[in-house]
Symmetry: C2
Amino acid sequence: MTLHWTRLAQDGNARRGVLHTAHGEVETPVFMPVGTAGTVKAMTADSVRATGARMVLGNTYHLMLRPGAERVGRLGGLHTMMDWHGPILTDSGGYQVMSLNELRQMDEGGVTFRSHLDGSKHRLTPERSIEIQRLLDADVTMCLDECTPFPATEEQAATSMRLSMRWAKRCRDAFVPREGYGLFGIVQGSTYPELRAESVAALSGIGFEGYAVGGLAVGEGQEMMFGVLDCTLPLMPTHAPRYLMGVGTPSDIVGAVRRGIDMFDCVIPTRSGRTGRAYTSRGMMNLRNAKHAEDKRPIDPDCACPACARHSRAYLHHLIKAEEMLGPMLLTWHNLQYYQDLTRGLRDAISAGRLDAHAAALEAAWAAGDAPPEDAAAAELAEDRETLR
Amino acid sequence: MTLHWTRLAQDGNARRGVLHTAHGEVETPVFMPVGTAGTVKAMTADSVRATGARMVLGNTYHLMLRPGAERVGRLGGLHTMMDWHGPILTDSGGYQVMSLNELRQMDEGGVTFRSHLDGSKHRLTPERSIEIQRLLDADVTMCLDECTPFPATEEQAATSMRLSMRWAKRCRDAFVPREGYGLFGIVQGSTYPELRAESVAALSGIGFEGYAVGGLAVGEGQEMMFGVLDCTLPLMPTHAPRYLMGVGTPSDIVGAVRRGIDMFDCVIPTRSGRTGRAYTSRGMMNLRNAKHAEDKRPIDPDCACPACARHSRAYLHHLIKAEEMLGPMLLTWHNLQYYQDLTRGLRDAISAGRLDAHAAALEAAWAAGDAPPEDAAAAELAEDRETLR
C-alpha cells in the first residue's frame, strides 16, 4: 500500500490522524523541522528526535547541487546519510530555483538555472524532480510546480497554476509507486478562489496520496492566507493529508489546523533560534535584548528542553551576545521543542473536542504572559514571515 | 582541606592520580576541554560530559570582559551559569591580555589594556585576577604571570620570570583558602634551565596546591618543549599536580605524560574540529578533503562518539563543505572524545606499568593507520601549534 493517512478524530474542521509511511507512522497535525541540506541546522538527528519530531523535510534544490542527488543515492539515501530513520518529505526544488536564481529560464518542459554555489548549469523538469526525490528516498515526494509570486494578476495566476497542473500530471506519471511512499499535488491559484477551485479539481482528477496548499507564506499576511484556506480547504479531498507549505508562526499553525491542515514545515523555529529569538507559551522573546542579561529564569518554565531545563535567560543572552555556537544550538532546540509541544497540544485538543477553547487559551497566554511581545517583536514577526524558507 | 592530589600509580616518570576538588574528583592525567567564554564551543555541557571529560577550563580574560566577573558571580558562578557541575580551572587572564592586546601597558603592579570587544579600559593585577577567579568560582585558580614570548634572550626571560614570581607571591597572599579550592603557581624561564630551576624554587618556597609549566606551546616546537620538561619536571614537587598549559597534540600529550605531567588543556580538539579536522587512532584527517566525499566508513572505527557511531566520512565531508553547523558540532565531539579516550588509555597503561609499550603502539598506529597524515597534515599541525589558545 502506498503512503496513506487515517483520521482518528475531528473537531470542527480540524482533524487528528496518522500518516502511514515507509519509515513509520506520524501523528497529525505534524510540524516537520526543515533539514535543508541533509541536517536540521544546529541539531543532531538525536536531538531532533528528542524534541518529539517524527518527520523532517529536505530541500531537493540544495541537495541536488550539494552533495548531488546521485551521490546521496549512492550513500544509501537521505535517511541513512543524515541518520534520520523517520519519514522524510522533500520539496520539488521549484521554489528555491525561483527564489534563489534570478537568471532561471522557464519553459513548458521545465526550468533551467545556474547553481548559486558554483554557477554550473542545471535543468529541473517534473520528471527529473521526481527522479531526484526517489534518489533522496523521500517518503513524501512533492510535485514540481511554479510557486506563483505574490501579488499576481488573475491572468498571471491562472497561467502559472495551469502550468503547475500540467506538471503535476507529468509528476504523477513519472512517480514509481512503492510501499509506504507517496506523491503530493500542490494547489496553486494565488488569492483567486476560482483558480484555487480549478486547481483542486485538476489535482483531484489526477489523484495523489496527499494535497498541499502552495503559493502562501509569500508575503500575503495571515488574514489573506487564512482567507485562501477558508475557500480552498472545503473543496479538498477529506481522505488525504493536507499540507500547508512553508508555514508558519505558532499563530499561523493554530489557525491553519482549525481550518483543516494536517502538515506543516517552516524555517521559523530554526532560523529564529539562530538569531536569538525564542517562541514560548508566553509569547516570543529576543534573547539578545539587554533586559535578559541577569535574568535567572528559564526561557519558558513550561518547557522541558535543555535550554529551559538547564539554563537561564541570562546565560542564553550571554551566548548570543558572544556569538557562541551553543546559543543557536540551544535556541533552535527550544523552538523545535515548542513547535512539537504546540502541535501535540493541538492533537490532544482535537481528540478531546476542545480545540476552540485550547486555541483561545494559547492566544491569550501569548498575549498576556511574562514574555509579552517586545518592542521589536512585531517587526521581527514580519521578518520571520518574509523569510519563511 | 584545600584542593589536593593523590598518587595512585607510577610508571617511569608518569603518574596516575586523583585530583580532589570542591566539585568532585578527577582522574589524572586529565585533558580539560577549553570553555573560553563559558561554553566549550559547539558542545552542550551534557555532550562534554558524555565524552568522559570531568574538568573544563574557563578563560578569565574573556569572561571578565563579557559577561563580566561580577555578573557571573551574581548568576551563581561559572558552574551554575554553564551548567557544568564538575571542577573548573580558570587561567589568570594574563596570556590573552598579552596576545590579544597590542596596546597593553605592563608595570610592576599589573597590566592595563583595552577590551578587544569595545575598547573599554581595564586593569588586571595579581589581586584582581584572583578576585575575578573567585567570582567565577574556579576550583583551580591560576596565578597571574607574564607568558614570556618565544624566543627571548636570557635577560628578557629572567626579568619576565622574576616579575611573575613576585606576582605569584601576591596571588598567594590574595587567594582565600576554601575547602576543595586551590591556587597553582606557574613556572616560567623560557628555554633556560637555570631560570626554570630558579622559578621552581621560588614557587616551591611560596607553596601552591599545584604547579604549572608555562611559556610553552608558543612556537618552540615539540623537541624544545620536551627539552624544557626534561630539565624542569625533576625539580618540581612530586606531591602536587603538574599542569602543562595550552598543550597540545595527541603526540605532545603522550610525551608530556611520560615525563610526569598530570593536567592539560588545549583548543586543538575543539578548534580543529570546527575547521574539519579529526584526530583519530589512525592519524589526523581533514574531512574537507574531496577523497572523503563518498567514503561510507566512520572517521574512526574505534571511536564510540556520535560522529563515528552514526555517520560516514562522506556525510561529515558534506556538512563541512556546506558549512553546516552540525559539521563542527560532530567533529568537536569526536575530537574531544578522542582526547578523553587517549588520556584514559594513558591512565590505564600507567596503572598496568606498560606505558612505554602503549605509547609506542599509539605512535605506530598514527603513522600506519588507514588515515595517515595527508598532504596538508604537517602544515595543519604547525598551524594547530601556532594557534594553541
